[in-house]
């Protein structure tokens, strides 16, 4: 049972090794030149005023949550995509039903003008 998963573990180990090695190498080799100017926020060359951590409009939050919502719905399509051949027509019909419901939700949001930025 162990031999089946051994190549997978080997690949995973190699990947982790490569990531750690390159990060470490660049950290060691690269010159570190800290400086007060360098740690300033980049404001197109102008010394920055004010603080970026200020509250901003809630409409950004709405758009972000909607993205997460539809992104999660895409994840449900992955298992279907993997077993596409075996599931055949019934699977296809179920997925169509699922996407119609998603589109209903999308159309509902569109009609409520949640995507346009209100003044």
């Amino acid at each position: 049972m162990f031999s089946v998963y051994f190549p997978l573990l080997l690949l995973f180990g190699a990947v982790m090794l490569f990531v750690v090695a390159t990060m470490g190498l660049t950290h060691l080799l690269g010159p570190k030149r800290a400086g007060t100017q360098k740690h300033e926020a980049f404001e197109c060359g102008i010394p920055s005023q004010g603080d970026a951590r200020t509250p901003f409009s809630v409409q950004y939050f709405v758009v972000a949550i909607l993205f997460v919502l539809f992104d999660v719905e895409v994840i449900f399509l992955y298992p279907w995509a993997v077993e596409f051949k075996q599931l055949g027509w019934t699977g296809f019909l179920e997925v169509c039903l699922f996407s119609i419901m998603v589109c209903l939700g999308f159309f509902y949001l569109y009609r409520h003008r949640l995507f346009t930025f209100k003044k």
Binding site: E43, C44, I46, S48, F56, Y60
Partner: protein, 386 residues
């Protein structure tokens, strides 16, 4: 609650070096304040220390997207002061060069407007043809961008035949490329949604802000210096003046596009009706003689020396002459006290005047519209902080 955003000098969206401090609440803009002068090179002070023919290199660094228009505008101003009338052939040659420069200026503005709404390929399509315009300039004056074209009184040499081959080639290829570019953008749903209604200005406010050129014509006023006070025999050509309705980015884009088509037809008319005759006025004391004459004839050498050292007899007086540049009316107010260099030379720079209306155009709009309005106004930094 509002956030202050700095659309600063080194910003990819400003296509030039000027700064806007924008107060935004979410995506809507509450107020904007612009700072310019980041490449102020004191053109007017420099012009007071140079003889007349040496000021031409300054003028083509004003609006470097269409520098021949400024060069020839400056030559016409000095000719107006000196009372020199150039032959018909020079007028037609100047019209061809100025219309080519207008195409290259509008070409940059529209393709960059495409880039700002996300259509990068339009830029690459059209920029190819800008190289062809550069090659045509090289045929006439040897330089690509800072052309220093022509002389007081005409041109330094006649158009050679490769010029005619290249310009005919350019006219056919560019017409195809422009139709392709227009089919890409003009009825493009995304482009229309983004640009219609962005940064609009009413005709009355535009006039009060001193707008001229495509930005004013987009607002609905058909003021064009070529038609209002025709210079360099523009009255011999038929061309229409495109006029927009509500002066927003889409109208400015459309006005510039139609003007490119008009310029192509003007060049064709000028090429067809090109009269024969000398390519410079017969005013030896102002017109720099061609090099081969200077090496052979004594008078040419004397005139050359006098003009180069700047002792040309300039009458005392003042003159204001304006030409239709890429962004509007480029004016030259020249006050001369008869000396070696102008006593006072003031450039009317359309970008400097158009840009002061920027806060009024974008307040209340979205931030993404502000970026579009900036590139549709076609603000060129050299002309802005002369």
């Amino acid at each position: 609650m509002s956030v202050t955003l700095n659309l600063g000098p080194t910003h990819p969206a400003t296509h030039g070096v000027f700064q806007n401090i924008i107060e935004i609440d979410g995506e809507t803009i509450l107020s904007a304040d612009s700072t310019i002068g980041y490449i102020h090179r004191a053109f007017e002070k420099l012009a007071e220390h140079r003889p007349y023919y040496q000021i031409t290199p300054i003028t083509d660094r004003l609006n470097y997207c269409s520098s021949p228009i400024n060069n020839l505008g400056w030559h016409m101003t000095v000719e107006k002061l000196l009372g020199v009338t150039v032959p018909k052939r020079v007028d037609y040659m100047r019209v061809i060069i100025m219309e080519l420069a207008r195409i290259s200026d509008h070409l940059i503005c529209n393709s960059i407007l495409g880039v700002d709404t996300g259509a990068f390929s339009g830029f690459l399509y059209l920029f190819q043809h800008r190289e062809k315009i550069y090659e045509i300039y090289e045929e006439v004056c040897g330089a690509r961008l800072t052309t220093n074209i022509g002389r007081i009184g005409g041109f330094e040499r006649d158009f050679n035949d490769t010029f005619y081959i290249k310009i005919n080639e350019f006219l056919d290829e560019f017409s195809e490329a422009l139709t392709e570019f227009e089919s890409l953008l003009t009825r493009n749903r995304i482009f229309m949604d983004r640009t219609i209604g962005a940064g609009g200005i009413s005709a009355e406010r535009a006039l009060n802000y001193g707008f001229t050129g495509p930005n004013l014509r987009a607002a609905g006023v058909d003021y064009d210096v070529r038609v209002m006070n025709p210079y360099s025999s523009y009255e011999d050509f038929e061309f229409e003046i495109p006029v927009g309705t509500n002066g927003d980015c889409y109208d400015r884009y459309m006005v510039r596009n139609v003007e490119m088509w008009q310029s192509i037809s003007i060049i064709k008319q000028a090429l067809a009706k090109m009269p024969e005759g000398p390519y410079h006025a017969d005013v030896p004391e102002f017109y720099l003689p061609p090099k081969q004459d200077v090496y052979q004839y004594m008078e040419a050498l004397i005139y050359h020396f006098k003009i180069v050292m700047g002792e040309i007899p300039v009458p005392v007086g003042e003159v204001y002459h304006s030409v239709e540049g890429g962004n509007g009316e480029v004016g030259f107010y020249l006050v001369s006290d008869g000396g070696r260099s102008p006593f006072r030379l003031h450039f009317r720079r359309p970008s400097f005047i158009n840009y002061q209306a920027y806060p009024e155009l974008i307040v209340g709009g979205l931030l993404s519209d502000a970026i579009l309005t900036l590139s549709s106004l076609n603000i060129i930094a050299g002309e802005l902080d002369a």
